[in-house]
């Protein structure tokens, strides 16, 4: 059976992608997924060669034919997203695709049309297949695009007999995050020992608990604030969550990124060996 691991953090910039890319470099029989679809960065480190793509249609969008419109105001009255002005002018960028306006329009002046909201890609990389995506600027339904890349990854894993899917998750706690973690076997929460990092990771751990997904924690940049690092460890102990590693604040992460390499390829230093230790623990827990 294919196992799935998602790396998340709540707060952005904690090192999710750098750590995930290193895992991808060490895993042996896996598919990598970049689920941070509205700011995907994994491809920068993995240098993918796109071999397949699929257009992603998000929600439909309202289109209004002003020649047919009789200005009855029903669209304005019924739209809950402010997509119509009181004079019935349509602002398509505010449309959430619910199709209520199309239904209530008595003269058929509004129709819902498909829109291309993004694109999903299957690529080859030096660490095996990568499934990634690009959401067009300002599009809705990013959670659906995450679901699409995860589905593609599962299909690919089954086709090619892979035993693991490694998913780089997005920041936050909303639809893309929920879509990235539902049904996975393990979540790794990367926490930086800042008050913001602690605040957001507590929220993301609650989300994982809500969806009953087991999680482990890794503290990144642990020497930025030792007191906060201890607080995280205490919190995890109370919650019964294993801390699988403590990584130092180290400019190797940036240097590796500048060189477009993963940390474990770029260096053999403390940060690199710390990530290797974490990977061994996670691999053991998963496979």
């Amino acid at each position: 059976m294919v196992r799935e691991l998602t790396i998340i953090s709540g707060k952005g910039g904690c090192g999710k992608t750098s750590i995930t890319a290193s895992f991808s470099a060490m895993a042996r029989n896996h598919v990598t997924v970049d689920a941070d679809v509205d700011a995907a960065d994994m491809h920068i480190l993995l240098d993918p060669r796109v071999i397949g793509n699929e257009i992603f249609h998000g929600l439909n969008v309202a289109r209004k034919n002003d020649d047919l419109c009789i200005d009855c105001g029903k669209c304005y009255e019924n739209c809950r997203y402010g997509a119509f002005d009181p004079d019935n002018t349509l602002h398509a960028e505010k449309c959430e695709g619910c199709a209520v306006c199309e239904f209530v329009c008595p003269v058929g002046a509004i129709e819902m049309v498909e829109r291309q909201a993004g694109e999903a890609y299957i690529s080859d990389t030096r660490f095996g297949p990568l499934v990634h995506a690009k959401l067009h600027a300002g599009e809705e339904a990013s959670g659906k695009l995450v679901a699409l890349v995860r589905k593609k990854a599962r299909e690919l894993a089954e086709e090619q007999g892979k035993d693991l899917i490694i998913i780089d998750g997005p920041p936050g706690t909303g639809c893309t995050v929920i879509s990235s973690i539902t049904g996975v076997d393990l979540v790794l929460v990367v926490i930086e020992p800042t008050l913001s990092g602690i605040h957001d990771s507590k929220r993301i751990i609650e989300v994982a608990e809500h969806f009953k997904i087991p999680c482990v924690v890794c503290i990144n940049k642990c020497n930025i604030n030792n007191e906060n690092t201890m607080k995280i460890e205490e919190f995890c102990k109370e919650k019964g969550i294993e801390v699988v590693g403590r990584l130092p604040y180290d400019d190797t992460a940036t240097k590796a990124m500048m060189d477009k390499k993963t940390i474990v390829e770029f260096s053999d230093g403390d940060l690199s060996s710390g990530i290797k230790d974490i990977w061994r623990k996670i691999e053991k827990a998963l496979l």
């Binding site: 960065d41 402010g82 990013s142």
Partner: protein
């Protein structure tokens, strides 16, 4: 520090926008998370007299960490959700067919409602031929404020997917007079766009790395599509290279400021101390940002 003056002034007393009674809305955004949006937003708010900060990152609001005192609930935020009267329901399935979000499923004599997929559009209620659907309020989060109301933020309930309705309500709290700063969520999808929409200026915070540049590029696309004027702040200047600066020059994007990569800033951040308090020598960076934006709005 709050004077009764109606014009917008810096704490040093130099007026940046002289039109009395004018309101200015500034969003601080970035595609990549953790680039320093909150740092810029908080320190700007602390540097501008009579300003209000509204933290729109409802999935992970962090601005309050840098303000003293507790946050108090201003109001709860609800979206409408359908309530099904199964005595009236004929299981015709029209609501399920209509729902664009696949939040309703009717199989035989069974109706399933997936609350987390519902956007509260009210379509099912309109479409139901036997009037079996009414609406109730579904709690998705709350709006909070600090004691002197210089800071507002929103908090999306755990396991709720859509924060945009909270962001919409937050944005209505912008001041009629004075400067309102919005701290945006990361990314380029709907929550970030909602925050950046209808503001007078957008500050895009990035870091001088390949990730920073790539995500800046995406955010620039969003800002251009919305049609809001914008400029760039480079945070942790010195960690990477000059490709972000070169990009800004090539694209004709104003570079508002560079915040140096200083471990002391990171440590102050980790404790929840604003840069302008921990390292007053960096205050001029935020003054310069205000000056540059003042000249552009």
């Amino acid at each position: 520090m709050r004077s009764g003056a109606k014009e917008l002034v810096r704490v040093t007393g130099i007026t940046i926008i002289t039109d009395r009674g004018m309101d200015v809305k500034i969003a601080v955004a970035s595609g990549k998370g953790g680039t320093g949006k909150t740092t810029v937003a908080v320190n700007l708010a602390l540097s501008i007299e009579d300003s209000v900060l509204i933290d729109c990152d409802v999935e992970g609001p962090n601005s309050h960490i840098f303000f003293p005192g507790p946050m108090r609930k201003l109001k709860d935020v609800f979206i409408p959700a359908p309530e099904f009267n199964l005595d009236k329901c004929t299981y015709c399935g029209k609501c399920a067919d209509f729902c664009q979000y696949n939040a309703i499923s009717v199989i035989g004599k069974k109706l399933l409602f997936f609350e987390e997929l519902c956007h509260g559009c009210g379509g099912c209620k309109i479409i139901c031929p036997v009037d079996a659907i009414s609406e109730r309020e579904h709690h998705i989060g709350m709006i909070r404020h600090n004691d002197d109301r210089t800071l507002h933020d929103g908090l999306l309930d755990i396991s709720e997917p859509f924060g945009v309705p909270i962001i919409k309500e937050l944005k209505e709290l912008a001041m009629d007079k004075g400067v309102t700063i919005f701290d945006s969520p990361p990314g380029t999808a709907c929550p970030a766009v909602e925050t950046m929409r209808d503001v007078d200026y957008c500050i895009l915070v990035t870091e001088p790395t390949p990730f920073g540049l790539h995500d800046l590029n995406l955010t620039v696309d969003v800002a251009r599509e919305i049609g809001v004027p914008f400029g760039v702040v480079i945070n942790r200047d010195g960690i990477g290279d000059d490709s972000v600066e070169k990009y800004c020059v090539k694209e004709g994007i104003p570079l508002l400021a560079k915040i140096p990569n200083d471990i002391e800033i990171a440590k102050a951040y980790s404790r929840g101390t604003p840069v302008v308090k921990a390292r007053p020598e960096y205050s001029n960076i935020f003054m310069d940002i205000i000056d540059m934006i003042g000249g552009m709005i």
